[in-house]
């Protein structure tokens, strides 16, 4: 038996590390147990071809909360560079979105003068609405049962409602109108050009098993935009050194605070004694005892695989089994011997989603278990922000190809891999005809591969789709939204808990706060 700890954190992903850092800072003896040979989880940088390194899963930063960065002494400015977006359409059409409003408008004016005028104000308004909703990102969701909230929770709820009211009547009504609707209709309301509408549709559907005409997609757009205001980093950033650099800084912060991190130590079981968590059992059989177990693994893995059957009530276990965790996006990594000419103008992020219908049709295929014939594609060139990721003269491209469903029909995972590579490159080649000739090596990670490699159940990188019915006090399940799982001592501190996915550090930070609150209350009670 090893030394006893106060807290055992399962998984050294960004949320596990953030939780560990906060808990260790508060003076607890914390150990983080990571299955992989380095910390980071889905936020790692890895070499996929000799000399070519890339962010393994998440490749853009926008949502990391400035407060978490400040608390943990992270200098986000030093590890991430702002990045613009270039959206490509047919016949050389192109718009460039950048922090420079004038240049952005000028580039949109080439496809639609009306959209050029509308784009800035519309995105500012959506970001404003999202920021009002985002007030809850850093707070613990209230309980839907009226009597079970304490004064602080009720105050937070009141302040949240007040914040929404203070948006003013027009914005407040607009928010209530658009919150549950689909992004295609929203885009039609605001814009006329296919390219702008396609970009909006793509951003809203990114990482969701939904098409732009599915309800809820405006919510997911707002959820994304919440990280574009003061609750996030103000816009998209490419991590310097890949996403692994952020994980390294978080690991360093956790270690500085006194947490121990053990890599290559997959947790096989959560140890439960007298119906309460008592530690974890590693794959080799080693037992690590801790009265608090905080899991940053996804809810299904934590509750259905790491716990023995028979520890959860029946209806709750069913809710967890039925969480929607449909991975639908594949990662494609390309090693290039030079940057395609069209991409040289330094945008860093390339989108191929030339129209709403393009994204919708891509989704249609996924609904029936097929890889999209013409996927919607996001490509970033991390080596533009950090040349050290590729050998001199070379570049790496990190691609999210949507849709590639987790559940395939009449297709093997291997076949799907080939289809994804071929089709994603074909899409990108429409704007960069010389791309194909520059590829030296490639790698494809389907949702099934992401599940196997990064322990993301269903290949769903948000640990559960971010939709209204799986958010806020419903995440991961009603009455279990406050990070506390039914088994006493077991906590969820990953993206499966509020406020969900993206590299934000918030689920970890919020869970740590709740854990500390309970410890303090326990001490008082004694």
């Amino acid at each position: 038996m090893s030394a006893a700890y106060d807290v055992a954190v399962i998984g050294a992903g960004h949320n596990g590390l953030v939780a560990a850092a906060y808990l260790a800072k508060a003076g607890l003896k914390v150990i983080v147990l990571e299955a992989a040979d380095r910390p980071g989880g889905a936020a790692v940088t890895r070499e996929f071809a000799p000399g070519f390194r890339v962010s393994g899963v998440a490749h853009l930063l926008h949502a990391f909360h400035p407060r978490v960065a400040r608390d943990l002494g992270l200098k986000l400015g030093a590890i991430a560079a702002p990045v613009g977006t270039a959206a490509f359409g047919p016949e050389g059409a192109r718009i460039d979105i950048s922090p420079d409003a004038g240049a952005t408008a000028a580039s949109i004016a080439r496809v639609s003068p009306a959209d050029a005028r509308a784009y800035g104000p519309v995105m500012a308004r959506l970001t404003r609405l999202a920021t009002a909703l985002g007030g809850y990102l850093r707070r613990t969701p209230p309980s839907p049962l009226p009597s079970s909230n304490d004064l602080a929770a009720n105050l937070a709820l009141g302040r949240f409602a007040l914040g929404l009211r203070l948006l003013g009547r027009r914005d407040f009504l607009e928010l209530t109108r658009i919150l549950t609707m689909n992004v295609a209709d929203l885009a039609q309301d605001y814009f006329e050009s296919d390219l702008v509408k396609g970009l909006l549709a793509f951003d809203a559907a990114l990482g969701l098993f939904l098409g732009p005409r599915s309800p809820n997609t405006v919510f997911s757009l707002l959820y994304r935009l919440a990280g574009f205001g003061r609750h996030g980093m103000g816009g998209l950033h490419l991590p310097i050194g890949g996403m692994g650099a952020l994980a390294q800084s978080l690991a360093a912060a956790a270690k500085r605070a006194g947490a121990a991190i053990r890599t290559g130590s997959p947790v096989e079981r959560i140890l439960v004694e007298k119906d309460a968590a008592a530690g974890v059992i590693l794959a080799g059989g080693e037992e690590i005892r801790a009265p608090i177990v905080a899991s940053s693994a996804d809810p299904q893995r934590t509750l259905l695989r790491l716990l023995e059957p028979g520890l959860l009530d029946v209806q709750f276990a069913k809710r967890i089994r039925h969480l929607r965790m449909n991975g639908c996006a594949a990662k494609v990594h390309l090693a290039l011997d030079g940057l395609p000419r069209a991409w040289a103008l330094g945008a860093g992020r390339i989108i191929c989603a030339p129209a709403i219908d393009h994204v919708e049709r891509a989704f249609d295929a996924a609904k029936y278990g097929r890889v999209s014939d013409h996927p919607a594609v996001e490509a970033v060139v991390p080596s533009l922000a950090d040349p050290s990721l590729a050998p001199p003269g070379g570049h790496v491209v990190s691609i999210v190809a949507q849709y590639a469903p987790y559940r395939l029909r009449d297709t093997t995972n291997g076949t799907a891999r080939g289809q994804i590579l071929e089709r994603a490159v074909a899409m990108l080649s429409q704007s960069a005809p010389d791309l194909g000739a520059r590829i030296r090596a490639s790698e494809v990670l389907t949702p099934q591969d992401l599940e196997a490699k990064y322990a993301l159940t269903g290949g769903q990188w948000h640990h559960g789709e971010v939709t209204l019915d799986q958010m806020f006090f419903l995440r991961p399940a009603p009455r279990y939204q406050q990070y506390r799982m039914p088994v006493p001592g077991l906590w969820l501190c990953g993206a499966g808990a509020h406020p969900g996915g993206h590299v934000s550090g918030l689920p970890g930070a919020n869970a740590a706060r709740e854990i500390l609150k309970e410890i303090k209350a326990g001490r008082r009670a004694r």
Binding site: K274, D275, L304, E308, P309, G310, L311, D313, V314, Q315, F316, A317, K318, R321, P486
Partner: protein, 394 residues
Amino acid sequence: MTHVRHLTPFLRKTPFHEAIERLMHGQGWVRWMGYQTAAVFDSEQSEYFAIRHGASVYDVSPLIKYSIRGRDAARFMDFLVTRDMAKVKPMQVAYTAWCEDDGRMIEEGTVFRLAENDFILNAALHQLHWLTEAAYGFDVAIEEVSERFCGLALQGPTSPDILAAMGIRGIESLPHFGIMETRLDGRWLRIDRAGFTGDLGYEIWVEPPDALWLWDTLFRVGEPYKIAPIGSRALDMARIEAGFILVDVDYIGALHAVRPSQRQSPIEAGIGWVVGFKKPGYFAGKRALLRERREGSSRHILTGIEIEGRKPAPGAFLYADREARTELGLTTSALWSPTLKKNIAFARLPPDYAEPGRQMWIEIWYPKEKKIERSMVRCWARSRMFFDPPRKRQ
């Protein structure tokens, strides 16, 4: 009951039907789980006295039965039900409840433990969906076997003599809640010493082709022992005297209660003793039940009451005072007990009124010569097991 007549073409017939129909002089049928079964043959009073003074035969074939077996069956049963199944040995029957997440009772029934990892769960309502959901992660095979066996409840003081006279060896040593399997005339029988009458009695299970043989044998051998067929009405009288609760009569099954507030915990339904709080592992609803016990948040407890006078009081209000200023609760089942010569009922009472001996008032409305009369009389909390003769266990 006439409506059953019109339904008979659609109702199923149990394997004993042919024998029962011969004895059914009136149209005393009732529908039970899609079967046409006997409510009363000639007189529910005389059938009742057969239970208490002779031997009664009641067809329990429509009961729903599930076979639960497999490598994890013992662990699964311990998780599923509130009783500590580790204390139930092979070839024993246990009465238990099973609960949903909030510790509210889905149903109660008996579990036969046939072997370490081989169980039969007897239920009044369909449970397959719940069992399948609860079994997630366990290596068990759950199968409905309701039609694989059919059974007769042989209940009453002379019942062991009949079984002994039939030639069933070892019946005299079968303990209360014991199970035995044996063969007679080359036929397989499973006999358990349990029942729904609160009296000395047995349930005898055979395969459907042997049903009529069992019936005929019982009645041939049982003639000198005052054997009689009974219907559900007489059984209902006996079960109230014995304090046995019935789903959707004395409590509402938690999964089909329309109002969530009407769901009840086993503690509230007056069978708190079936909750194995001390059993080492977790079981469905345990956290909620522990909280209920710790916080004393039981809203009421189903308790026996003894009522002044002779007027049966189903669905009657109870009050703390004669003036009916403080309402306490409502009765569910009630009857004038012919054996005890007492007016008894089950009542939902606040926990502090559920103490035996506590006096309350009850308001009974009853018809009398085309008039509805009201009577406000005293009643006292009692153990719900009004009738509990030593012979049941001896």
